[in-house]
């Protein structure tokens, strides 16, 4: 006898979820959080791995300039753009959100340009980096966010925030001196300024939502 639960956990384990390794940040925590959500992630910086992935996670901390350089060097720019355009589930985290914009103020570098707009420096009258737990108000929808409460606390560490030109792409907001877009969604893409893998049970719930969304699209239910 196979229960519905067995089936869905088998589908989750069968997914190919690629965590993009470009020497940026704590990939181990991201991988562990995905494992908690029931998937067996592949941590890789090989562009070929993206071509047949069911879902991709772009983590990242640090500076936009050096991150873009590494993505270039590893030939990841076009594969990432292509994957996002396909509409398959994509999760950007922290710097992985900022890199989706056209440009980053930090070093004035061109980024992936998936979403029109810029990553801007947080106002200097505040303590920067914005570090700690802050409230996210979910104002829009995305299939991976179905089980999120309307508001919740998540862990932030960043000095820049995204300012998308298309206000419709912002589906979550946070206040720190100004009200900024802390969650962005576009098609299959979901990206957060906070670190869900560092945000306790609620963060793990976001990973579960992402994994289930990927499983549903992969034909598992």
């Amino acid at each position: 006898m196979t229960t519905e639960q067995d089936l869905s956990s088998a589908v989750l384990r069968g997914l190919k979820v690629v965590v993009v390794d470009y020497e940026s940040g704590n990939l181990r925590s991201v991988a562990k959080a995905l494992e908690r959500a029931g998937v067996c992630p592949v941590v890789s910086g090989d562009p070929a791995e993206l071509s047949n992935a069911d879902a991709v996670v772009l983590p990242g901390v640090g500076a936009a300039g050096s991150a873009m350089k590494t993505l270039h060097r590893r030939g990841l720019i076009d594969p990432l753009r292509g994957f996002i355009e396909s509409g398959k589930p994509f999760l950007g985290l922290c710097l992985g959100l900022q890199l989706l914009m056209e440009r980053a103020e930090e070093g004035d570098v061109a980024c992936l340009g998936v979403a029109p707009g810029r990553a801007r420096r947080l106002p200097s009258n505040l303590k920067v980096p914005h570090m700690g737990w802050n409230l996210v108000e979910f104002t829009g929808s995305h299939p991976a966010l179905r089980e999120m409460p309307p508001k919740g606390y998540f862990y932030f560490v960043h000095s820049y925030y995204v300012d998308p030109e298309d206000a419709g792409l912002a589906v979550g907001f946070t206040e720190y001196g100004l009200r900024f877009c802390s969650v962005l969604a576009k098609g299959g893409l979901l990206a957060t300024q906070f670190h869900p893998e560092k945000s306790g049970p609620l963060g793990l719930k976001l990973y579960r939502g992402f994994a289930r969304h990927a499983a549903a699209l992969a034909g598992g239910g």
Binding site: V61, G62, P129, M131, G132, W133, Y153, S159, K198, G200
Partner: protein
């Protein structure tokens, strides 16, 4: 609104958690990985592992503790104690630490802060500041001390507040202010020291040393202007739960992440 953080600190020696009273007289308070997982569930906002022996041959034990904790803990983890080089920072980050705290080595070689911040970003570089009041100084002054893992440490000629400001300029993304006078005494944080550092630096300040009751936590987050309060024994020995601490702070109008 950004909340104030409550951070249990786990002093680790030979792979076990101990809590020193005034940095001496170590008592065993348990397995660091089990405690870390417990605090994650309890609602701690972050965790700090501090390697108090930090001799080279014991580094492997600490790395193992960090990597096992990182598998089970889904809140930020800071590791400190005996970090001397950029390579040490890299090793700890790879093991699963989110931030690395540097004390003595930063005093001896301030460029280490700059190099680590350049290599990994300011967000993961924490200055650990051990400070002791200069006796009878009016207005109060504090002196930086190094090698505090054993006894009272060694004096330096550095002014603690000036050093904190300098470290932030060099790229430290956070400063843990540890009062050597109040550490382990449970008589409250050094409010003047924390306030002075918080006002002199543009980065978040974590108060450490002296928590004996919930009122102390509140005082340092309000009067001491700290962004986070670190405590050890009041949590490890079950004097208060994280929930009790947060409820107390919330009643006093301090924003906290509800448990």
């Amino acid at each position: 609104m950004l909340t104030k953080r409550i951070i249990p600190c786990l002093d680790v020696k030979d792979g076990r958690v101990v809590k020193g009273v005034r940095f001496l007289d170590h008592r065993d308070a348990g397995d660091p990985v089990a405690l870390a997982a417990f605090y994650d569930v309890e609602g701690a906002d972050e965790l700090v592992f501090y390697d108090i022996t930090a001799s080279a041959d014991e580094r492997g034990i600490m790395l193992n503790v960090v990597s096992r904790a990182a598998e089970q803990v889904f809140i930020p983890l800071t590791v400190g104690g005996g970090i001397r080089t950029v390579e040490d920072v890299r090793t700890m980050l790879k093991a699963g630490a989110d931030k690395v705290s540097i004390n003595t080595a930063a005093v001896e070689n301030p460029r280490l802060i700059q190099e680590a911040a350049y290599a990994f970003g300011s967000q993961c570089v924490v200055l650990g500041l051990d400070a002791r009041r200069v006796p009878d100084a009016r207005p109060p002054r504090w002196e930086v001390r190094v090698r505090t893992g054993r006894g009272g440490g060694q004096p330096t000629a550095l002014d603690a507040v000036e050093w904190a400001a300098k470290a932030a300029e060099l790229g430290a993304g956070e400063i843990v202010v540890n009062s050597m006078d109040s550490d382990g005494a449970r008589t409250g944080y050094d409010l003047a020291l924390n306030r002075a550092v918080a006002e002199a630096t543009p980065v978040p300040v974590v108060a450490s040393g002296g928590a004996g009751n919930l009122c102390h936590l509140r005082q340092v987050l309000q009067e001491g202007k700290a962004d986070a309060a670190l405590a050890a024994s009041i949590f490890h020995f079950g004097v208060y739960s994280i929930r009790q601490a947060k409820e107390h702070l919330a009643r006093h109008g301090i924003p906290v992440r509800p448990v």
